[in-house]
């Protein structure tokens, strides 16, 4: 499943990085501690977090995530949007909680 379809199913809003939405989502990781995400997320994951500051972009680039989903209606900072656009990392937002977001994505990826 690619990010476009995932965004559609969960009604996610795309903030930036729309060019990367056709990437295949191989899995996901949820976390707000950057070291945890660095250590345990994988290439091809979609990263679910409530961190909205610009440092999330470098983590995502380094880990080669397909995109970042900000939960609980968090708005990414302007710097975050700028960096994500430059690096081609799709940023998506949802009003859903982390628990609900992860649960729904899990069910979609493992029907």
């Amino acid at each position: 499943m690619n990010l476009t379809l995932l965004a559609e199913k969960l009604n996610l809003s795309v903030v930036c990085g729309g060019d990367g939405l056709d990437r295949e989502v191989s899995g996901g990781y949820m976390g707000d501690l950057l070291s945890d995400v660095m250590a345990n997320s994988r290439e091809g994951d979609v990263w679910i977090t409530c961190q909205s500051h610009q440092n999330i972009v470098a983590v995502s680039v380094l880990k080669e995530h397909v995109g970042i989903i900000l939960v609980l209606g968090k708005k990414p900072d302007d710097d975050t949007i700028e960096k994500a656009s430059r690096e081609g990392i799709p940023l998506l937002v949802t009003e859903l909680s982390g628990f609900e977001t992860v649960g729904r994505i899990y069910n979609l990826l493992h029907p």
Binding site: D32, L34, S35, A39, N55, A58, K63
Partner: protein, 140 residues
């Protein structure tokens, strides 16, 4: 350091806006040198955590890398406050980071632990009030 492809990146302390910038550039360089897979993954994690440590605790530091056929050697020097108790600092969850650092999702006390986990050889040399040197070796 032995013969090999060498390069160096300076990192400025307390500059969280650019956290990860050096790591991203270094990873691209290493990819260009044909390093891939688990070796690249472990190297990127070790360098990122080291970079964040410099930014969190030192005024400035340097990431020196030497790539040989056998391994990737990374030396990270900073002029920070040094580590009083290295054994304690290595424990997962132990951190001296302040609230400002923690609010951003750093300072979880996982950095040095992650570096060690990603290294085949890892050594910390530190002198209080002088600085810290991390010596990381990752086999190719």
């Amino acid at each position: 350091m032995s013969q090999g492809y060498k390069f160096s990146f300076p990192v400025k302390g307390d500059n969280f806006d650019d956290a990860g910038k050096a790591s991203v550039e270094i990873k691209r360089f290493l990819k260009g040198l044909g390093i891939t897979g688990d070796v690249l993954r472990r190297t990127a994690i070790a360098i990122y955590e080291s970079e964040v440590n410099i930014i969190s605790y030192a005024r400035q530091g340097n990431i020196n890398i030497c790539v040989t056929d056998a391994s990737i050697l990374i030396n990270i020097r900073d002029n920070g406050p040094g580590i009083t108790d290295i054994e304690q600092a290595m424990k997962q969850g132990y951190s001296t980071a302040d609230d400002h650092i923690r609010e951003m999702g750093f300072g979880a006390g996982m950095g040095l632990f992650n570096i060690k986990n990603c290294s085949d050889d890892f050594e910390i040399l530190s002198e209080v009030n002088r600085g810290t040197l991390l010596k990381i070796s990752i086999n190719r």
